[in-house]
């Protein structure tokens, strides 16, 4: 073994010397004519419904290039598939950064998948911009200065619900059903932010796993807690089950808050039975493409024009498209704001100095704001209530707590 190691050391010294000495270019992926951007999306596998987000982004950058690109440069957007599997995400991120040498990553999708690469991209100091996930941890400049989310975090959302509830009933007791993962636990954190030390006394929490067949048992446990309000923080299949079961057992707490991850009419409200969810409160930050209120809205007209011209065959009722359009628009704005300096430092600096940016697909009054200490670009949401056929917005645009 000793011989082998000596041999190894000797050969290593000889062979690796030139590679180590190799100097870094100015910014990887940026030339006089091109900016290379990497994206990772679940184009296949169980989360493949989100793949449309990546498809719109590809079209968006193509259209942008046809209109002249950014600062005389064409965008080369390389969007790879990870099938929503974290080990695969690691491989794709390294492929993009080390082999394709992209300037930065944009809108990589998923909480477990981004968790697997966040440390790596921050060590490499590669901007990791506007992630497609609402986990709160993407807004942590101290720990991950190169990673920034986009949509309101789940934690912010839970804070908004808790504030809304306590405003009506300060001593309300809350029942929380959460999926036992990063996503579900953010709702516990947000509720705890608002209730503080009253959390233990006023909140009853029950978790479920994605392998559970039903959540009947959990609902029974929560019902027996006699709570005044229910907060359902789970994915569509279990959300639909929850709405139906609560209705069936006749448990109708005065308030029922539902995560905006699970507000799809087709995948949650219709399967559950639209009449069973009347009165459920959730929150939104995007304009709903099926809502007739936006028929003459300039922002949505712009979006519809884009879809009709460039993606005529897509499902124009799918809320992922306005999302993708909004986040792409933000990205374009950041790149334009970079001027002619596309160093990674400047890209990150510009991404974190957005002021009151208006995005056509965001609800009126909601603006994108970032700073060196604020890595939560969208912090506002508006509550909406299920009427039995649609989500109806009510009240002001609300903001989460600053914690």
């Amino acid at each position: 073994m000793l011989n082998r190691r000596t041999l190894l050391a000797a050969s290593a010294a000889v062979l690796s010397a030139p590679r180590v000495a190799c100097a870094q270019p100015a910014t990887p992926g940026v030339t006089a004519t091109e900016i290379k951007i990497g994206g990772i999306m679940p184009y296949s596998g169980p989360a493949s419904a989100y793949g449309v987000i990546g498809r719109l982004e590809q079209v968006y950058f193509r259209v942008l290039n046809e209109a002249g690109g950014i600062a005389g440069r064409k965008i080369n957007f390389i969007s790879l598939d990870d099938g929503y599997s974290p080990p695969k995400t690691v491989e794709q991120a390294r492929r993009l950064i080390e082999q394709e040498r992209v300037a930065f990553l944009f809108n990589t999708l998923g909480t477990p998948t981004n968790s697997a690469i966040v440390r790596y991209v921050n060590q490499r100091k590669v901007p990791h911009l506007f992630l497609s996930t609402g986990a709160d941890k993407w807004g942590n400049p101290q720990e991950n200065p190169w990673t920034i989310g986009w949509q309101p975090s789940y934690r912010t959302e839970a804070q908004i619900y808790a504030k809304h509830l306590l405003a009506q009933k300060p001593d309300a007791r809350i029942a929380v059903l959460y999926q036992n993962d990063d996503f579900g636990k953010d709702y516990l954190a947000g509720t705890r932010d608002i209730l503080g030390d009253r959390f233990e006394r006023q909140v009853k929490t029950v978790s479920h796993e994605v392998t559970d067949a039903t959540i009947d048992s959990q609902i029974v446990s929560l019902q027996s807690s006699g709570a005044d309000a229910m907060l359902t923080a789970t994915t569509p299949k279990f959300a639909a089950q929850t709405i139906r079961k609560m209705h069936d057992i006749g448990w109708k707490p005065p308030a029922h808050y539902l995560t905006n991850v699970s507000i799809s009419v087709a995948a949650v409200m219709q399967p559950a039975g639209p009449e069973k969810g009347v009165g459920i409160i959730t929150s939104g930050y995007l304009k709903d493409p099926t809502d007739s209120v936006w028929r003459d809205d300039p922002g949505m007209t712009e979006w519809r024009g884009f879809m009709q011209r460039h993606m005529p065959d897509a499902d124009h009722t799918d809320g992922n498209y306005p999302f993708s359009y909004g986040v792409s628009k933000t990205m374009e704005h950041v790149l334009r704001q970079c001027g002619n300096d596309f160093s990674r430092e400047n890209i990150m600096k510009q991404a974190t100095s957005l002021q009151n940016l208006e995005i056509p697909t965001l609800l009126p009054g909601i603006r994108v704001n970032t700073s060196a200490t604020n890595y939560h670009p969208i912090r506002q949401m508006q509550l909406q209530r299920w009427t039995g056929s649609t989500w109806e917005r009510f009240g002001e645009v609300l903001e989460g707590a600053r914690v």
Binding site: N180, E209, V210, T211, A213, V220, D248, G250
Partner: protein, 290 residues
Amino acid sequence: MEGLPHQIVAGIATGGIYASVALALVMIYQATHHVNFAQGEMATFSTYIALTLIQAGLPYWVAFVVTVAVSFVIGVVVERVLLRPMHDAPVLAHVGIFIGLLLVISNLSGWIFDYTVKAFPTPFDTGAPMLGGLVSGHELGSTAVTLAVLTLVYLFFRHTSLGLAMRAAAYNPVSARLVGIRVGWMLALGWGLAAAIGAVAGIMVAPVVFLEPNMMLGILLYAFAGALLGGIDNPAGAVAGGFAVGIIENIGGAYLVGTELKLTLALAIIIAVLLFKPSGLFGRVVVSRV
């Protein structure tokens, strides 16, 4: 503990799901001495067929019968095409085929029918839920269907010569062949029946848990625990075991180990049964032939 009776009732309702899938598992074991890992995925695929037919405008029960028939044919074809040539191959080759089938079918379901959650209709009146809403009309109806299937299976195996021949083919292929039973076709028939029962299970389960390509993954493991608990060679035992697992899961999850370890509880049941009573609570003790 105030909710204990409710937890038990809810457990029975969920147990009904496990029971119907456990029955399909036992069925294929009876007919082929195999446990098919792709059983759940095949059932899910059948359920998608049923949904497609219903959406195309077929009446529910017509779609039901057509789906069961189509699933039967799919089961027979799978056996003839994939298993038959491998009949003499080691068990490992079979497991390889099962896993391959699982990958192909579950990805195919997602690819064709996409991964969004879909509602599935029920033929049973869902107007007024019973027992404080813990049991819906559908859950009652589907339990009745499970029991009806169980009765049919029992009658078929006990009182028809075809059923007897199938049992013989699975139990002792060599002797069965000697008395003139076409063992190969009996196995194919067994696969067809198991696929048909799986389709029934899928159609009964989908209205409760909602239809998506991975609908059966978790259920299959609980159902397997139920089948083992009741005795893998005893259809009635498997149904009882399925209900028992539903109740144990709920009580354990709510009061003992917490909801995070429900699946671990099912694993513990599997291991405990295999360690202490491998034949299950109602199964026959099988002496392995050498």
